[in-house]
Symmetry: D2
Subunit: 396 residues, 4 copies
């Protein structure tokens, strides 16, 4: 039933052996000194991936959705206003979460395939003279559309009117795969998870929190216990956890950070760009279009690709799975039926990507797509071979 083919979903990623082994930890006493010695450096090292010195790392045994909830419930009060642009499934879900938690959400609806509208943010914020907007929420990498937004531009749009709102960024599917600048971009809370760029199993929400967000925490009246920053930080400070910690993921995180630093974060980002570019070359060779509207928005972790008119993307992904045993991302939300997605993040090589391209190409041929067999693969091969500067550049 199962096989050893890689998955091409945009996370959870293929887990490298090294991390599978690292997570195979027998139970240890999380109240013993070993745990402290393991956990504290993990928190410290994770800051490097967020590119922060001022932020605090807070983790929870939860998924990214839990991280979103933590960001909101620790810093805001019922009735608070937040500003969010909706341009994909994940920005949509964060909005939904805010509404369920009694926030007043100012929504800017944008076409799927576009990114965070810095200019519109600037307008709305400039108009908000009495600073009712407490936070701007942005999805850095919209996994549903393969769009990466410019967080630096969002920050500028906020600075333009010197608006004091906090900036919350969902970087679940971008962190540790594409550059992220917590300090430089003035992010207040960044939310990520263990199962994407960190290449681990699902189960740990990883947040970075600015001093400003910690101040906001003092007045925040949304209820929280499991996701309480204060409890977590207090326990962490003495090397503990307010409840049972996810030991296996913490050991996995330690090894993941080692892997990332051994390769070098810049090399990790360059590798992701190169793999993504290969996929984009193939897409062009097929004559297909990306959902992302323009090159500046192209994500290096996932490509959402429109199928031609008259075809159903779900049939394509089902066929690839049922016939060749390979999983690709389905089209989500508005893109359901219209686009399929190729995840190209985490522990992946050009060689593995080529097998994914070859598979989806066969699937398209099987379903009579107007696509020439081998064309996408050849385009990616040509790009990969000519862009391959470093021998053995591949991730572990």
């Amino acid at each position: 039933m199962s096989n050893q083919n890689p998955v091409f979903i945009p996370g959870p990623t293929n887990i490298p052996d090294r991390l599978r082994l690292a997570m195979q930890v027998q139970t240890q006493d999380h109240r013993a000194p070993d745990f402290v010695e393991t956990f504290a450096p993990v928190l410290e090292d994770t800051k490097k991936v967020f590119a922060t010195t001022s932020g605090k790392i807070v983790t929870f045994p939860a998924s990214g959705t839990g991280g979103w909830e933590a960001s909101v419930s620790n810093t805001l009060s019922p009735g608070d206003t937040v500003l969010v642009a909706r341009y994909g499934m994940f920005s949509h879900r964060w909005i939904d979460l805010c509404q369920r938690h009694g926030l007043d959400v100012h929504i800017i609806d944008c076409p799927w395939g576009s990114g965070a509208p810095a200019d519109k943010f600037a307008e709305v914020l400039a108009d908000d003279r009495d600073h009712r907007i407490k936070a701007v929420l942005v999805t850095h990498n919209e996994t549903a559309t393969g769009v990466r937004s410019d967080i630096g531009a969002v920050r500028k749009s906020m600075d333009a009117s010197s608006h004091p709102a906090m900036l919350f960024v969902d970087c679940v599917s971008s962190l540790a795969s594409m550059p992220f600048e917590f300090d430089k971009w003035g992010v207040d809370i960044a939310v990520s998870g263990s199962q994407k760029g960190f290449m681990l199993a699902t189960g740990m929400a990883i947040l970075c929190v600015s001093p400003k967000a910690l101040d906001a925490m003092e007045q925040a009246r949304l209820p929280r216990t499991f996701f309480d920053f204060r409890d977590m930080m207090a326990a962490n400070a003495s090397g503990g956890f307010p409840y049972t910690p996810p030991l296996q993921l913490i050991y996995g995180m330690r090894e993941s950070l080692k892997m990332l630093f051994e390769e070098g974060l810049d090399n990790v980002y360059a590798r992701h760009f190169r793999l993504a570019e290969g996929v984009r070359k193939a897409t062009a060779a097929w004559g297909l279009n990306l959902v992302a509207q323009s090159p500046d928005l192209y994500s290096d972790t996932v490509s959402a690709i429109y199928v031609p008119e008259g075809f159903d993307s779900n049939t394509l992904t089902d066929h690839a799975f049922n016939t060749y045993g390979v999983s690709f991302g389905i089209g989500l939300g508005e893109m359901n039926g219209k686009a399929f997605r190729i995840g190209h993040l985490g522990s992946l090589t050009d060689v593995m990507v080529l097998s994914g391209l070859a598979t989806i190409e066969m699937s398209m041929a099987d379903l009579d797509y107007p696509v020439e067999l081998g064309s996408g693969v050849a385009a990616a091969q040509e790009y990969f071979r000519t862009s391959c500067a470093n021998p053995m550049q591949s991730a572990a």
Copy 2:
């Protein structure tokens, strides 16, 4: 630094090899048919462990604390009254959670070492003629004191005045180790986790929810998204998950259930009783006292044992860890310094328990406790060897 000695903390438990292997799952597409086929039977089989046919199983990628939060936030509204007895650290923490979430908590303070006060519950409930109390919250096994409460008696105390309050039970450290009767006891929400009787890694909160609690959900106004029952049940119904599922734990859970059913739940309970009884025989031989006030309260998953006057239990557990590399539970809360705890749950054998008893005995001798070396071990040996009906009775 690390060694292969078992841990004697009251969870997370020693993870059996079989479950460590089962959790070593490479990433699979959680939107693919395989996942549905794996997950649905897990939910169904888990009901057997709760002894329910009417309840629904709901899981979250979280710890038991997250399970508590889910129980409260899905069924109650700000200002609602709940009735809780406080007789240990975990009942205390649940109270704290309720208060943070804006509930009005009617607290019955009881001495640590006692159990849920069914008679006092009966009084309070009888007095609550306009039924302001929406839920009674009970900790089945108070891990801090080694006390198991009589949930059937609590149910009777509620029935005595035909009070309509819901009954919520924390069975984190009892489920799958001691008998639990969701249907028979009329429980409305039971909260457990992956890392105790299920012998898995930490990271999955496991709840059982009655139809009555599901009805209450319709009016409940506490905010929740990550822990929303409705989202989870809707996604589960079609074989999915509202966000990324903890794949490794789900596969682990499937194998854990197999192990439990292969041994037979009654045999699992009998084994836990036998191991606990061995520890209690040793305790008596040492001339020490359990924190649990009377035999009907003795927990079969953890024993909290008072150190003699003039000794500090933390020194004892530190010594055992530093000198012999064995972890025991420290005294929590009121018991800090006064009692240590021996966890005896999960995948454990009499042989392993004897090594724990021998170790703590050496530690007591090292610290000049008035305890005869070998006495506790011999008492446990005598009990184990005479109570050993079935050859190869040991858990996997």
Copy 3:
């Protein structure tokens, strides 16, 4: 340094997760009943893979070379004559072994790329009227050249003169990947290993021995202890081992057999043919030639492919390894520098094969081979997609 790319060497194969887990066995007492219950069925089930009911399975903790030595030292005496054809590295090595052990080896030298010369065997055997030849040694699948010989034809050549010599077959790189007929072909000793079709780690020689070979054992005077059939069979008969058994491989073997039978041996063979055929289509599209001289000799587990005149195959395989992190088989012996090899056996899918083809294609382009980028991949894709009868046909 390491990555998750598959290897394309002709064994050891990529080990499927399921078998990696199966081999993760903690030490058990090999003198305890568990071992007997595990090992005896493994021996029995292995017969099915050899297609024998009359043969006995004998295993040693050794490599295939050890298996060769066992075949010779258990059945022959110093000075005995054996007949062997040399048409590749592995037939050459077996000859060398015989000579070192004092046998008189009648060698028939054949061109590399040809197979076992049944007609020449027939001649030599017909001439050997006083039956000095005690055994005919044949390499079923010559891993160095990608040639599969016709063992049935060899048997016929022996039967033609009713020659009583034993027939020994090296099926190290064919068993469990291509059809093998121990009984039907009248094989007397077949030698295989754990690390090829069985998809396990290296370390177990697996032999099948006919009653006739067991008779020969009674007179055989070559010394042997470690590899003694009699000791092994006697110990095995009571569920034991004459020395410490390779427990992990035995458990691995048990699971490997399960996997093979679940897929069905015929499906396993068909899958290997299909993957091999895809590689051959690619080879043709590149305009390159196989070392195997004719289609009837094509191996379904490994293809040896000549590089064009003026190119060095070692440069090619080094480049693929150093630039793309993928291992292919180098040219061995006479083929060194002239041919490279693609291993396509064990737990492999069409999707994985395509990544290998894409990689070697890029490497050829990098080194200015007269090969069109994408051509081989497209040819294999076209074959794979049109020959793909069963959805999810891929091996585990």
Copy 4:
């Protein structure tokens, strides 16, 4: 069926998690540079464990028996005389091997429980004026009797008459657990394996060979191929292997050496002595006798213990296995029925040893042995707690 109890057989040992993980290596190309970089340092570091600078390390994918065969077949010729004392099962088996390989074995029969008779060796060697004896074969640690012989004394007995015979030592169950001095003792070939002091799976014979033995190789006429030193050393010299190497064990060996060096070889030896001494204290407290005749012969890796008159040791070990799920060593050969064995080597702690002692004690009580329950455990506890100098001294 299986459980997590430690085994107390004298090897294979309980495999520590760290080594189980280290052996979980996916297939790599053993002809690629990675392999060279891994394997060469392993060979070099292994010398430290043999305490040699002059010796060469040679490994084979085989068990210790294969190592014995290699020692003999690489250095001797049919008809050569070797001198061996027989004082247990393993010395007996080595004699048998020599005889099967056509050697003339001068046997000195000694009582089981005694060690290598240096004085008798001296006599025989002094009498052998024309130096027909080519090698003296000694079992350092006789696993069947728990006797460690004095190899230094054997060397002196050889030097007394300046006899040029080689000295071969079986250190399978002593190396990496008790001090071994290859150079100082003038050993010519020492034979060990992966599954004892190295704490790995079974499957690698590990030999150390002196320059003198390598010289002898030039004239040696016993046939060998699989076990040929020259082939192995030639291949190793260029980082290769003459056939498929046992990759997983080589990676395991690398990590095992790391573990041994991290703990420090002297600490490893001291730990083994301490664990053994605890077992001996228990034995004395039970009023039972060791098979080893005197304290200077006591092995630190295994204790063979006589059961009282009228009892059958097999009944005892069967009972311990069937009732408590713990494996002890049975009495081998002459000791069958008369003695049982407790293995105390490898990755073991005092805590684990106590569980073994407690178990065998219960078993003896069950079978009405005249042994006081708890007596042996208490004696070992008292020794362990007073001899415990270093906190966290336990091996990983």
